[in-house]
Amino acid sequence: VKDLGRDDGLRLLQEMVRIRRFEERCGELYQQEKIRGFLHLYIGQEAIAVGVMDALLPEDDVLATYREHGHALARGLDMGEVMAEMYGKMQGSSRGRGGSMHIFDVDKRFFGGNAIVGGHLPLAVGMGLAHAMRGERAVTVCFFGEGAMAEGEFHEAMNLAALWRCPVIFACENNLYAMGTALGRSEAQTTLIAKAPGYNVPAISVDGMDLLAVRRAAKAAVQAVREGGGPFLLELKTYRFRAHSMFDAQLYREKSEVEAWKEKDPIPRYFAELKAAGHADDEVLAAIEEAVQREVEAAVAFAEAGSWEPVTDLLRFVTTEPGDAEVA
């Protein structure tokens, strides 16, 4: 915390609180049927999105999974636009076409919101390849869950990225459950970074509940990759406190296990560190909570005030339309 300084230290705390409160509100809005479809909450894993994103530059690319609200907010997407997307309104970050699982913002180089497990890993390789071929210094960070490691696309992507020395960081958020299937029931090798040497990819495993450890590891990985070291695998050990989606009765895990992990909640843990360093106290936290609550309510109001896309536009965005710009 000390070399982080007070301002950055508090900013990172606020980022985590923003995600937590935003998602708690999303859960309520789901009960009220304002948000429909699937809703996958990130609560418990916030330190990862916040810590990794803090290691990136604006020219870097980010790809995430369908549990990506936290990544979107941490990458700097407007909270109102993200909430409007959850509502399916035109003012949403994907004009409402994607919903909770498909948040995109090319200005922030945030490439989803990808809901085929493992399907976005090859995309990250291609983006890294493009940067490498053009001699650019940008890196591509691809978040995925440990469940994706059982997909062939993980193995194909690791091999391709290493073979072509693509500047890609594979950020595996190991929350121990692929939907409801425990790690030990889906992987023969549960030491996940043991898979990396087979592809000649450097890898480290980090406590994903420890914001500063995540940030430190991410900065080291980003630096190595940016300097041309080829891809890197980061395993971030974490836990999701909430159900997989809103339809999950959580029959596959004990309540006591969830409670034990809640003891490791990254937000109180990091707050305690800030407190110990003299950067924060309860008053500061209260001020952050208040600011975040205002932001969340403003986001809800923005989404509520948003408009539905006219049905006459149904067939738009299937193929390119005149005036559409291209990402470089």
């Binding site: 994907s94 994607g98 090319v106 090859p122 194909e156 965005f317």
Partner: protein, 325 residues
């Protein structure tokens, strides 16, 4: 200038790479080996291994990588050895290439070209011979083209590379050795229009890809019997140029579709349904089709031949349609 279909594709790729630094080719054995069907032979020596990029056997991985590179401004041409292997990349093509523009509310585009060999006739049996163009043509968000002539092989890639959306090019394996005289100079093919390859007044034959030449041969046989066939080469399988098809059928009042895909759920079925919807009252006879028999493609030549649309079968189908009314 006389060229083979294979040379035409190669010239098209070479030209694209000299013209545009964003273009590169990747796929299995496209470089050192020269391409499974020798389409890219010699290109690696000329353009280097960065731009003629050999890939491991990772169809999903390298097609996905093509999509990723296209997303941020490159113009990849990805070669998949055969349509059968492309099923390993179907997730990338259908779930990513075809959806990213839409899911992002129009923010992204995927200017990717996927080339793949398709079709039977070389005794390659049931895992290298299928015609699944119709599956791809089912999917909104991608364009599907099937150059059937050497000139189209030479110039359609240009159109595909200029397209900001993903384009899948199907190259029938029976066409690679085909040599035709084509005019010097040329430009992008208008893939929004089907081509009328032979004009006729009695019956419309609608076809594409490798079946075009069988259909033209059948038309020649039928001409000798006093039946004038109009032969339409679809060129683009998605979107379909229905205006050209319907316009022709309204004149000839009869139609036969020739499609190397299996009959059930085929592209032929879609074309026939569209004709029935739009030109029903112009028809003097029931619509007919000549498709592949409902069997995985067998290895022995006599069985493979029997499974596929053939000239004699097309002639027979046309004669039956003409015999009505």
């Amino acid at each position: 200038m006389k060229l083979t279909y294979r040379e035409a594709m190669r010239d098209a790729m070479r030209e694209a790479m000299h013209k545009d630094p964003r273009v590169f080719l990747m796929g299995e054995d496209v470089g050192a080996y020269g391409g499974c069907y020798a389409v890219s032979k010699g290109l690696m020596a000329e353009l280097g291994p960065e731009r003629i990029r050999d890939t491991p056997l990772s169809e999903s991985g390298f097609v996905g990588a093509g999509i990723g590179a296209a997303l941020i401004g490159m113009r990849p041409i990805v070669e998949v050895m055969t349509v059968n292997f492309s099923l390993l990349a179907l997730d990338q093509i259908v779930n990513n290439a075809a959806t990213l523009r839409h899911m992002s509310g129009g923010q992204l585009s995927v200017p990717l070209v996927v080339r793949m060999a398709t079709g039977a006739g070389r005794q390659l049996a049931a895992q290298h011979s299928h015609s699944l163009e119709g599956w791809y043509a089912h999917v909104p968000g991608i364009k599907v083209v099937a150059p059937a002539t050497v000139a189209d092989a030479r110039w359609m890639l240009w159109t595909a590379l200029e397209d900001p959306d993903p384009v899948v090019i199907f190259e029938h394996v029976g066409l690679y050795n085909r040599a035709e005289e084509i005019p010097e100079g040329g430009g992008p093919v208008d893939i929004t229009r089907a081509a009328v390859r032979r004009a006729g007044k009695d019956v419309t034959l609608v076809t594409y890809g490798g079946s075009l030449h069988k259909s033209l041969e059948a038309a020649e046989v039928l001409a000798g019997q006093g039946v004038a066939c109009e032969v339409i080469d679809l060129r683009s399988l998605r979107p379909l140029d229905l205006a050209t098809i319907i316009g022709s059928v309204e004149r000839t009042r009869r139609a036969v579709v020739v499609d190397e895909g299996w009959r059930t759920g085929s592209l032929a079925a879609e074309i026939m349904a569209s004709i029935a919807e739009r030109a029903f009252w112009s028809l003097d006879a029931p619509l007919a089709r000549v498709c592949t028999a409902e069997v995985p493609i067998p290895y022995p030549k006599h069985l493979e031949d029997a499974a596929l649309p053939q000239v004699a079968g097309i002639v027979e189908a046309v004669r039956q349609v003409v015999a009505h009314g």
